[in-house]
């Protein structure tokens, strides 16, 4: 089992003809993801040549791509200047999940896009996120497929390569994953820890969850309370940034709004206070999960 994406995922790639878009489309197709359409304005009518000679039709606009192919998920590799528009277009097109990989999208654009997505009842993952992978089923984004394996662990993380580290270690000891989700590190993201934890709790295939946080904000603290109050499955946590210097900008005022300084200490304490086993090092995640599964 898995969350958000699975065998029924029908993917449209926005920015399929770009450098990143074309590379990762091939990677996703190689993994077995059903890429049913691409969108690049002005290139409608052409085909994307996937690995093994498979052809993916390209459309000028999302509405056409969705109506002609029945796509239900989109992934955005569009450059930052046009990414927010592409996300809005996807959100308005009929897909139920928009995975925004692009880094560098203006925050105020995303504030509007997230509001639009809420109004439309569409899930955005990201932006500035590595996407997600449900091993053996589908991969949407840029997570390296070679480090994952099928199994009972859900992984959710704010960071990219640190996720790889954790997933790599899990897989090394034979602990596969239901789904690995990178929620992204931007200030305004569409899907947060709680959204993923809720989905993992409901997913019958997930037996335990690894949650990898960072300094800044209060997402992890709220997630910790959620884990205590609403989850039956064990959760293991890790927080990066114990030695990070206090940021020179925004840190303080943001902390007043949220009522928290967002330090690693604070987050680790929130984890411990709410029954989440905290890994001191990435290498400890595996043993804590193994303990939890006993």
């Amino acid at each position: 089992m898995s969350i958000f994406i699975d065998d029924d995922t029908r993917l449209v790639v926005q920015g399929i003809t770009g450098r990143d878009g074309s590379f990762h489309t091939s990677q996703m197709m190689e993994y077995g993801t059903r890429v049913v359409a691409g969108v690049t304005p002005g290139k409608g009518g052409q085909d994307f040549a996937g690995p093994g000679g498979e052809k993916v039709p390209i459309f000028n606009a999302m509405d056409e791509a969705v109506s002609k192919t029945g796509a239900n998920t989109s992934v955005v590799y569009v450059p930052p200047a046009f990414a927010a528009d592409a996300i809005l277009e996807a959100t308005d097109s009929g897909v139920s999940l928009v995975v925004a990989i692009t880094e560098g999208v203006p925050v105020l654009d995303m504030a509007r896009a997230h509001a639009f997505a809420r109004d439309k009842g569409v899930r955005i993952l990201g932006p500035n996120c590595p996407g997600l992978i449900s091993p053996g089923k589908a991969k949407v984004g840029i997570l390296p497929a070679q480090i994952v394996a099928e199994g009972p662990i859900g992984v959710v993380s704010r960071s990219g390569t640190l996720t790889y580290e954790a997933v790599f270690q899990l897989t090394s000891v034979g602990l596969g994953q239901t789904t690995c989700v990178g929620i992204g590190g931007d200030p305004l993201i569409g899907t947060n820890f709680i959204d993923c934890l809720e989905a993992f709790e409901l997913d019958p295939g997930t037996e335990a969850v690894v949650m990898i946080g960072e300094i800044g904000g209060t997402d992890e603290q709220e997630a910790a309370v959620f884990v205590k109050e609403r989850m039956s499955k064990p959760v293991v946590g890790f927080i990066a940034g114990q030695t990070a210097p206090p940021g020179r900008q925004m840190g303080h005022a943001g902390a007043i709004i949220s009522g928290s300084a967002g330090t690693a200490e604070e987050k680790m304490k929130a984890f411990q206070d709410n029954g989440i086993a905290v890994a001191e090092r990435p290498a400890d995640i595996v043993s804590l999960i193994q303990d939890a599964l006993k």
């Binding site: 930052p80 200047a81 880094e103 560098g104 999208v105 203006p106 925050v107 105020l108 504030a111 509007r112 997230h114 509001a115 109004d119 590595p130 840029i142 997570l143 390296p144 070679q146 480090i147 993380s157 704010r158 960071s159 990219g160 390569t161 640190l162 996720t163 790889y164 580290e165 790599f168 590190g185 200030p187 305004l188 990898i212 960072e214 300094i215 904000g217 209060t218 997402d219 890790f238 990066a240 940034g241 114990q242 030695t243 990070a244 210097p245 020179r248 900008q249 925004m250 303080h252 005022a253 943001g254 902390a255 007043i256 709004i257 949220s258 690693a264 001191e280 090092r281 990435p282 290498a283």
Partner: protein, 377 residues
């Protein structure tokens, strides 16, 4: 990207917020001349990207032009939290009746620009929040509607009793939101927003940080970047597309991804070492980036060992390996290098390193432990 007080005031003025006049001086002579032209008492204010300028002695009241000269000569060149003062703002001193605080910033939780106002301005808003949180009123601006007039009025009603001041503050709050949006800011504040004895409000101090992602479409704002106001190493990193923050330790870190970079620093500390920096080479695979990263790390005289921790995803291990080999040719490095290289194209990368005489680890713990050992040695 931070901008200076005087630049933030320029942005404010574009939206109609009342700000006092002011001019920039880079020498004591200029400061004296400006003070003379105003013909009244002035403030001389250090222009650096740092809070606490007042406590550091970077803001001075000057009763006349000769005092302005004196204070300017003291402040120019002063070091405030590691930043050298290159410019001072000379501005007429204002008579102050009351001081309020008005700020806007992007709030993660409400996913919106969020106002904070307090009638207790002139001090750190953190202090107000800690001691008298009920003296702060907050409002998140729904991005679908922008700041509505009654919301601006609601905030202004919290600051003043007098209808005229409320009207003025309500305008200024709406204008501050406009300025925030038009500047592509992630944070801006007026502290203090003063009232004068003749019943006017004025923004006599200003802060603004710009969302770096906005700069591509706001050339006028991007032009406000003051290259002299940031540490040289951080500027060089930014220009090379790297994210770098200098720290006080001796283990130079070069990592791909911010989360893994922080986890690496944490692990250095865990094994008893001290990281010399945060450095994220990002997701790209350009060997030149690795060269730039090594140049920046090795320019820090404290660094005794260089630690690479690369988990290839988009980043390809062979590119990183090529970058390391290339850098050792171009730079005369004294420090030992320890490398952890795994993920995409790992075997290719290890082969390149081997041929150049490097060995590499596959475990993060092993490489960090080794680096800390070498730094102690």
């Amino acid at each position: 990207m931070d901008i200076h007080e005087y630049q933030a005031k320029e942005r404010f003025a574009l939206s109609g917020i009342p700000v006092p006049p002011g001019k920039i001086a880079t020498t004591a002579d200029e400061a004296e001349e400006i003070a003379l032209s105003y013909g009244c008492a002035v403030m001389v204010k250090a222009q650096v990207h740092s809070g606490g300028r007042g406590k550091a002695g970077g803001v001075k009241f000057c009763k006349d032009a000769s005092e302005a000269r004196l204070h300017a000569s003291n402040i120019l060149g002063m070091d405030i939290k590691g930043l050298t003062v290159e410019k001072v703002l000379v501005t007429p001193a204002e008579e102050i009746e009351t001081e309020a605080y008005v700020g806007v910033l992007i709030d993660r939780e409400s996913q919106a620009a969020t106002f904070m106002v307090s009638p207790d301005g002139g001090m750190d808003i953190e202090e107000v929040a800690a001691s008298t949180p009920d003296r702060i009123r907050k409002l998140s601006v729904d991005p679908r509607y922008g700041l509505l007039p009654h919301q601006a009025l609601w905030l202004a009603n919290f600051l003043y009793e007098d209808p005229s001041l409320i009207r003025q503050a309500s305008s200024a709050i709406s204008q501050l939101y406009e300025s925030f949006v038009e500047s592509g800011a992630s944070m801006t504040e007026i502290n203090p927003l003063i009232t004068t004895p003749d019943g006017h409000i004025k923004a006599i101090d200003a802060k603004m940080s710009i969302d770096g992602n906005e700069l591509f479409r706001r050339p006028d704002v991007a032009d406000m970047r003051d290259l002299s106001a940031e540490p040289a190493s951080e500027r060089k990193a930014r220009e090379a597309g790297l994210s770098y923050v200098k720290l006080d330790g001796n283990v130079g870190c070069c990592v791909n991804g911010a989360g893994l970079a922080m986890a690496t620093m944490d692990l250095v500390k865990y094994y008893g070492g001290e990281p010399a920096n945060f450095l994220d080479i990002g997701g790209s695979s350009n060997p030149d980036k690795v060269v730039s990263a090594l140049e920046i790390i090795t320019s820090d005289p404290n660094v005794r060992v260089i630690l690479f921790n690369i988990f290839g995803g988009i980043t390809r291990c062979d590119d990183v390996a090529n970058g390391i080999v290339e850098a050792t040719k171009r730079i005369d490095m004294q420090q030992p290098i320890v490398i952890r290289l795994t993920g995409t194209n790992e075997e290719l990368g290890l082969k390149i390193l081997q041929e150049a005489g490097f060995s590499a680890y596959t475990s993060m713990d092993d490489v960090v432990e080794k680096a800390v050992d070498l730094a102690k040695g």
